[in-house]
Amino acid sequence: MTAANYGLDTDRASTADPLLVALRRRAAGRYAVDEFGGDPHLMDLVAPLFPLPVAVEHGERVPDLGPALLIANRGLGLLEPLAVTRAVRRAAGRRTRVVGAPELPIVGDALRTLGTIGYRPDDVAAMLRAGHLAAAPLGPTWFRGGAGAPPRELFVATLGFPVLPVAVRPGFPQNLPGRPWRVRFGEPLGPPPGTRSGDQLAAAELAEDVGEAVTALLADDA
């Protein structure tokens, strides 16, 4: 965080300003924008609008500081990333950058403002180098059921950063009575020590490990 960000941290979530203060701040342009087009102030403002009930397991495994790649199973595609985002916010008080947003005009730009990026491995690697938490699905998109296939090209680009397998189990959305969404974080995984960046074999093995870890977390949860 720098003073030039007008008191806003681009990584750590903060309490939203009261509406009038927030409007004044935005009218005066006193808010930060990050290199990926994310608007942390807007993220804090809209967070209360999505009150998805989430139960977090092993939240202590989410790092308090520094980069990590969270790899979660897929589902309907809209609420899974939101559940992961809320779980991380609750466990570590940090913002999560969701990977795999559609790169469409207007919609894509709006989603990027809320902290998402597309599925380019180079961009995900840049996001991790910038020290953010990135949440990616086991596949090129969040849609479709099942755990999904390990995204090997993503692991090649991001080799060396810690990877956290995540299992997301659906609950009832929007505070309807019933089970909350359950988000379980696995142990951090990484390539063997001494692995060179861009090592295809190490990335492929890590992808397999992460895929298996997510499947195991889902099986434990069932």
Partner: protein, 322 residues
């Protein structure tokens, strides 16, 4: 070290020279440009030469026979000259000055000014490119910067000279002539109606420091030099207290015309920045060039809108006269 500074008359060139003057290992500094330096220089030699005047430029550089060249003479379109003139001056300055410096026989290193425009902003291009991203410029200035890099790299290979390229974000400040800065200072500014893409800025002094560090550290290869963080058109316009006017599609043609009439021409690379953003991963420059304290983009943006207040001074000695 004997250093030749091309483009010494510009804001960056003058600051590079001042910083080099303060270093003991730099024994002699010579520079040229089509306009005189912006600040007082103490031990550098300056010669006013139009970069397109081949004979004078080659003669000056050959006589000086530098060990190192800081090639700042890469002219951004609509900063100090029009697009065609900027391209012609940049190409002439690059070919003539670097060629003559290499043939003089003492040259060991070249550092050139380039821009993030070399990465382009086409569909499928990385959002935050690092130095190894594909070079696919999508604007005339981007292609010009890439030409400069290739020419300098070619000279470097042929004469066994180390070569560094500083791919700078938009260099801005209250005194730096920049088409983006001029545009953002208009009372009402056209901004994208349906997007708010991020862009990075670089402080003038930081750009100059990057040049000096690249010369003294004897680095090799390309470096993205960007101020940490980013700004966006909507945020920048509001920060400057200007009125944002949403534009989309063909509306941008009108916007460019209106801005030009208002005294702020918008070259294609600035229009691309406003519509698609321009940022890059500057981590390599921070570590290799030893620049951990680059001024954040938001701070550079604030500086862009700051104007010194005029303080009325009472004439000295009035009471004595009275």
């Amino acid at each position: 070290m004997r250093v030749l500074v091309t483009g010494m008359g510009g804001v960056i060139g003058t600051r590079v020279t001042q910083m080099l003057e303060a270093r003991a290992e730099v024994t002699e500094i010579a520079g040229c440009d089509f306009m005189p330096p912006r600040r007082r220089l103490h031990r550098a030699t300056f010669k006013r030469i139009d970069p397109r005047d081949r004979d004078r430029l080659v003669g000056f550089v050959t006589e000086f026979a530098p060990d190192a060249v800081a090639h700042v003479g890469v002219y951004e379109p609509d900063a100090r000259m029009g697009t065609r003139e900027a391209a012609a001056s940049t190409e002439a300055c690059t070919v003539n000055a670097l060629g003559a410096a290499a043939r003089a026989g003492r040259l060991e290193r070249i550092v050139v000014r380039s821009g993030l425009e070399v990465y382009g902003r086409g569909r499928g291009h990385p959002l935050v490119p690092d130095e190894w991203a594909p070079l696919l410029p999508t604007t005339p200035y981007g292609r010009l910067c890439l030409d400069v890099e290739r020419l300098a790299a070619g000279i470097g290979r042929r004469h066994d000279v180390r070569f560094g390229a500083l791919r700078c974000a938009v260099v801005a400040g209250s005194h730096a002539p920049s088409p983006l800065a001029r545009y953002l200072r208009l009372p009402a500014v056209f901004v994208p109606a349906f997007a708010d893409p991020p862009f990075a800025l670089l402080d003038t002094d930081d750009a100059a420091r990057a040049f000096v560090q690249a010369l003294v550290r004897d680095v090799d290869g390309p470096y993205n030099v960007v101020g940490p963080g980013a700004a966006s058109p909507w945020q920048a316009v509001r920060r400057g207290g200007r009125v944002p006017i949403p534009a989309a599609g063909a509306g941008w043609r009108v916007a460019v015309r209106v801005a030009e009439v208002a005294g702020a021409p918008v070259p294609p690379h600035v229009l691309e920045l406003l519509r698609r953003g321009r940022v890059a991963d500057g981590g390599r420059a921070v570590t290799d060039l030893g620049l951990p304290d680059l001024r954040p983009t938001q701070s550079v943006l604030d500086d862009l809108f700051e104007w010194a207040t005029v303080t009325r001074l009472e004439p000295a000695g009035r009471e004595v006269v009275a």
